[in-house]
């Protein structure tokens, strides 16, 4: 019987090695897999390349992973936000690398990675500094930039409900980058608020089919980033 459930976040992330590339779902706090990130902090793997739209807020979750010195490089679209201070300090100190990718190009590069499309063209960034050094191609009279697919060794994902086969549904705008990251990682690790029976998700409503999921942990009452910030919580 196929059963992708694993007992704890610690066991689910246990094989992430130094130097691994890790996609982390979420846009701001929506869909951010905090418990998996904290398990990765406990594990201590270093020299990571992390792909996320942002760089975390406050001093828990992704910000804590960065603050703990485990991230060598961030690939993201927007490393600033009202509550982000950990990344800016490290960046200004030259202690972390940054690759800025426009949000739509980031999403599409990840989708391409998952869909077996090694490269594609987009009009985004044409004529801007972010297109420098990239191949420009004129197609039907308009210039486009060539962008390469983005894949990762692991993806850390948060969803709402899941079944043992790895079928997932999300909560509202917590969907964001999670479904495409599930597709683009060699090993996709998911925390679900609830694991339901195998026929508990209507086949018409599945957002991430189980084929894209490798490991599944139930985290019934996940931490909420904005509450952690309000409470000044610092992990670990």
């Amino acid at each position: 019987m196929i059963d992708k459930r694993i007992a704890t976040p610690a066991a689910a992330v246990a094989d992430i090695c130094d130097g691994a590339s890790v996609m982390i779902g979420g846009f701001g706090e929506a869909g951010s897999p905090i418990e998996l990130i904290h398990a990765l902090i406990d594990l201590g793997a270093r020299d990571l390349t992390v792909i996320n739209n942002n760089t975390g807020n406050g001093e828990a979750g992704l910000a804590a992973l960065i603050g703990n010195g485990q991230v060598r490089k961030m690939i993201c679209s927007y490393p600033r936000s009202s509550h982000s201070k950990v990344f800016p300090e490290l960046y200004r100190a030259g202690k972390i690398e940054l690759e800025i990718v426009p949000q739509g190009t980031l999403a599409e590069r990840i989708r391409a990675g998952g869909a077996g499309i090694p490269a594609f063209y987009t009009a985004s960034t044409v004529g801007t500094p972010l297109a420098e050094g990239k191949e420009i191609r004129n197609i039907n009279g308009r210039d486009y930039v060539m962008e390469y697919a983005l894949k990762a060794d692991y993806a850390l994902i948060k969803c709402e409900n899941a079944d043992r086969l790895g079928n997932l549904v999300y909560n509202k705008t917590a969907r964001n980058f999670n479904p495409v990251m599930c597709m683009a990682a060699t090993v996709t690790i998911v925390q679900a608020r609830k694991v339901v029976e195998v026929n508990g998700i209507d086949p018409e409503h599945v957002i991430t089919p189980g084929i894209f999921v490798d490991r599944l942990v139930e985290v019934t009452a996940p931490l909420i980033e904005s509450q952690l910030i309000a409470q000044g919580v610092r992990y670990p």
Binding site: F27, G28, E29, A30, G31, N53, S77, Y78, P79, R80, S81, S82, F87, P88, Y91, R92, L98, I100, P102, Q103, G104, T105, L106, A107, E108, I110, R111, T122, A123, S124, T125, V126, G127, T128, P129, L130, Y170, N171, K172, T173, A174, R175, N176, F177, N178, P179, V180, I207, I224, E225, S226
Partner: protein
Amino acid sequence: MTTNAPQIEGWSREQMAELVAADIPDGSYVNLGIGIPELVTKFVPDGREFIYHTENGLLGMGPAPAPGYEDPELINAGKKAVTANPGASYFHHADSFAMIRGGHIDVCVLGAMQVSSNGDLANWSTGAADAIPAVGGAMDLVAGVKTILVITQHTTKTGLPKLVGQCSYPLTGINVVTRVYSDLAIIDITPDGFQVHKLAPGVSFKQVCDKTDAPLLPSKES
């Protein structure tokens, strides 16, 4: 161009937003940038319905929820709590930017640091050495949305023109802006450069010229 002249009383932020809203056709799919653009939702003309897209995965975005009813997983691109209107839909980021990149969003209203007379937009970075670059979805929006409207003060807080012959800040996109709504005037980007569409009450064409760092054509009606 003067940078030390006394402040001219033009349109307020709300009036600028109202002028933008008046120009958006009924039934449009609209993406609003953070800041003044968000005010547009308050001025939808009677009888029109706009459907708001937020690039983090929601079409049919509604207003902020009543206090206490926030869902930390129902937010907009500015990461503020919002609601979903009847007929809304959720989708992932790749699908969301397919809407943007594929030309399905009718109107995007954005703020600006600089707009050039050929419609180049700079709104993501000062290019300063210590600045942390952060582009978000702006480059995708300007490259993909059918009509890009800019809503901005005519000059910076220190009085420097934002409408320029050529942007000195790093670009967000080239030839993308259709029209600029400033506190002093509505200005079109035409093949001949900036052209006044409408002046704010009590503001003269010369006053706008003085605060614009590029040639400015008068309104066709004037």
